[in-house]
Each structure stands twice: as structure tokens, then as C-alpha cells.
């Protein structure tokens, strides 16, 4: 279990001699075992933030601390679910789920894989290859693979972005169920405002590489997009993003 404290984080890219500020002056606190969603327009730096957090990208400036209560701890197990499933095409669904467990005892591995196949409703497809399953199914496998790795912090970059509305709704519901009773810290990036409110205990709005606003969502799970308060949150977030 671990939280994250980000201080003055900045990231600049250079394309030829042109400087691109992807992130600047990010200050953000993500509590232990909390589910935080990040929204923002395309290019606001959402992906860059996640990539820096899981070490795929170097930061240019600032500090990232991992916390446990008030204490600062060393970097915990942290992993990421990408926007595309990124399954290994030569492995079956079952093998993909267990992909991260390379040094695990075979018996333990089998138990963990079976558990996650069950949990994500993939049992019937365990012998299928990635090119034989649907996009929604593939994203489910990707999620199962990361859960199987059992990181303390899970970063998700629009994992449902490429799915149709129905599949999306189902998976949103499943994600709520999966994380409701799990000790995990999650940062979930999306550009769907409803999704952000549906899932997050806190919604972070990014704009042009900075945190524009953080809105705690005080609604019990499972949430319904039809409710009055949901509507108000949506209004507030949309207004913040649109800038009026």
C-alpha cells in the first residue's frame, strides 16, 4: 500500500530545437488505497504523467515521493495498463494473464492465473490467442495481467478508450467492483468525464500540463450517472475544462 506525493513535477520534450512543455509545476497528492481519475483535453499531459510515474519516462524537474501514512517509503511495486491491450500475440489468454510472473513457483502462478481468469470472466477463452478475441476481451486480459502482477499502485491510461459504449459500461462496473475491496492505489486517466466521476474518489483536471482543479467526489459506489449530484459534478468538471 502506498500513496504518491508529486511536487513541482515538470517534463519538457525537445523536438528539433523547439521546446515542448508536456508537464509543468504539477503538485498532486494521491492517498493510500484511493482511486483517482485524471481528465483533460488531448495533449494536456495525462499520458506523460503516468509514464513518468511508472518509470517509462524521465522527469525533467520536481520530486515524486511514495508515502505510507505520513512516512516516505522507497518506490513500491507500480505498474501500468496501457490504452491498447499490448498482449503478447504468441501467448494464449491464460499465458498472457500470468506473463508478469516469471520467477513465480508454478503452483502459485497457476493459482493466481486461475483466480484472475475467474475474476475477469475469461475462463472460457483461456486458450484463445489475442487475435482471436474481441477488443473488450483483450483489454480485460490486459487488466487481469496487471492485477495478477499485484502492484501496490496501478496506473491506467484510458484503458477503455477504444471500446464501444456497452462494453465500456460493463467494464466500468467491473472496475468499481474489482477495486472496491482491494488495497490498491489507482490513477485512472480518461477523457470521458462521466467515467471519471463514475470511478474516481477524486477527479484531477489537467490543462496544458498543469493541475487546474481537484474535485473530491463524495458519492457512494456504485454510482449512477442519472443522479442529481452526479449531474452537478459533471457540470463543474465540464465548466472547468471548458474554462468558463
Amino acid at each position: 500500500m502506498a500513496g504518491i506525493r508529486i511536487e513541482n513535477l515538470a517534463k519538457t520534450y525537445y523536438i528539433k530545437d523547439r521546446k515542448i512543455t508536456a508537464l509543468s509545476d504539477i503538485n498532486l497528492e494521491v492517498d493510500d488505497n484511493s482511486f483517482v481519475t485524471v481528465v483533460g483535453r488531448s495533449g494536456s499531459g495525462k499520458t506523460t504523467l503516468l509514464r513518468i510515474l511508472c518509470g517509462l519516462e524521465e522527469k525533467s524537474q520536481g520530486q515524486i515521493y511514495y508515502t505510507k501514512g505520513e512516512d516516505i517509503i522507497s518506490k513500491p511495486k507500480i505498474s501500468m495498463v496501457f490504452q491498447e491491450p499490448r498482449l503478447m500475440p504468441w501467448l494464449t489468454v491464460e499465458e498472457n494473464i500470468g506473463f508478469s510472473l516469471i520467477n513465480e513457483n508454478p503452483k502459485v502462478k497457476k493459482r493466481k492465473v486461475d483466480l484472475h481468469l475467474e475474476l475477469l470472466g475469461l475462463k472460457a477463452f483461456k486458450d484463445a490467442y489475442p487475435n482471436q478475441i474481441s477488443g473488450g476481451m483483450a483489454q480485460r486480459v490486459a487488466l487481469g495481467r496487471t492485477l495478477c502482477y499485484d502492484p501496490e499502485i496501478i496506473l491506467m491510461d484510458e484503458p477503455l478508450g477504444a471500446l464501444d459504449a456497452f462494453t465500456r459500461q460493463n467494464l466500468q462496473r467491473e472496475i468499481v467492483n474489482l477495486f472496491a475491496n482491494r488495497q490498491k492505489t489507482v490513477i485512472f486517466v480518461t477523457h470521458d468525464v462521466d467515467e471519471a466521476i463514475l470511478l474516481g474518489q477524486k477527479v484531477v483536471i489537467l490543462e496544458k500540463g498543469s493541475v487546474k482543479k481537484q474535485i473530491p467526489i463524495d458519492l457512494p459506489y456504485p454510482r449512477s450517472p442519472e443522479s442529481e449530484r452526479f449531474f452537478k459534478y459533471r457540470q463543474e468538471i465540464l465548466r472547468t475544462i471548458m474554462g468558463n
Partner: protein, 260 residues
Amino acid sequence: MTKAKKVLKSLFLPAAIFAIWYLTSNAGILNTYIIPPPQEIFETAAVLIKKGTLAKHVASSLYRVFFGFLLAFILAFPTAVLIGIIRPLEDYLILIIEFVRHVPPIACIPMLILWLGIGESSKIAVIILAAFFPIFLNTLNGVINCDYRLLEVGDVFGFSVKDKFFKIILPSAIPYVTVGMRLGLGYSWRALIGAELIAASSGIGYMIMDAEQLSRPDIIIVGIITIGMLGYVIDLLFFSLTAKLSSWNKEGAKSWQELE
């Protein structure tokens, strides 16, 4: 059903050629001294098979191909992997690779005979020269073209360099490697026959050469047919053995013969 049809269709042209060959030579249109009639070829083949001559030559050719091919693989595969992973090495090797790759193995045979004699080692060397580059270049291509997005998956699961190599780079290169091996096998077969034609005391190439000296075109034709058929059978065999390994990769299968 469709498969049987396919086989039938593929047999059509060879059958037609045999028929025309049979009819024209028996009607006296073809000079049977230059091209003996098919029935004579079959008779010769039957004799060569019965005496065990054909089997002996085939065996020594096959032995050379497999042994040489194995050595080529042992040399080419690790080299390609090494260069694929340590990219700066390529800069040092590029000229040598490009140079040797464009010299046909056959052109080296006189030199090889000078160095290694006309025994087995010069044949094996020719095969290594022929099979090395397809295996090397395709493996290199496979290693280099490993999808960085899959490698990032390894990163987010805390894989070591070794884990990433064995769990991501290598498996994703397998279709390329098998394409390279398949090409290499075909190349070594052709190069070997060339080598046996020039200097050997056994092998199908030698059998053909020997038949020329004895003015036995029938034996030459039996030799040629054997070479073609064996080459095809080896390729089919290799393909069916490795198809499962790369069945997940449809693009890889398509890309065969694009390289080298």
C-alpha cells in the same frame, strides 16, 4: 476437398509436360540421345534405386546440408542476436557483412578447395556461406523490429534485460528466424549441388557430373529431378515443423522472401 483440388491442379502441368515429352520422344520428334524418353528415365531411376547408388549420393548430400546448415545456424543466430541487441556493433561490421553477402558462395569454391581440399570441409564451408546470411539478416531484422510497446510491458512489470530478451524479444523474433532458416535451407541446398558439381567424390551433384563424363543424360535427368524433389520435400518438412511456432504472426509469414 479444396486441398485435394489444389493438389490436382498443381499436378496438371507436370503431367502435361510428361505426356508431351512421352509422345514427342516416342514419335521420334525429340532426339532421344539428347533427351531420353521418360520411360528410360524411370528405368534408370529404378536401377539406381535398386543398386543403392541414388540413396548413397542422396545420403551424402543430405548429410552435408544438415551438418553445414546446423553450423551456419550456430554461427548466424547468436551473431545476429548480439548485433541486434548491441546496435553500435553494426557500424563496425556493416561493410564486411554487405561485402560478403554479395559474393555468391559458388565463387568462393575454388578458394575453399585450395584451403580445405576437396573433402567434406569445403562443401560444408560453401553451405555455411550460403545459409549464414538469410538466417543472420532475418534474425537481426526480427530482433531489431521487436515492438517497443511490448518491451514497455516488460518495463512496467519490472523485467530485467534478460527477462525482456527471453520473454519478449526472442519470441517475437521467432517468425523471422524461421523464415531465415527456411531461406537458408533452400540456399544451402542449391550451393551444395554447385559445390558437388565442381569437386566431390559423392553426392547428387557428383552423380550428375560423373554421368556427364559417361555420356548418360538419363542419369543426369534423374539427378536433376531428385534435386528438385528433395529440395521441395525439405522445405515442406521444415515448414510443417515450424509453422506452429509462428502461426500467431500472419505478417511474418507474408514477409518471407522479402529479405535476402
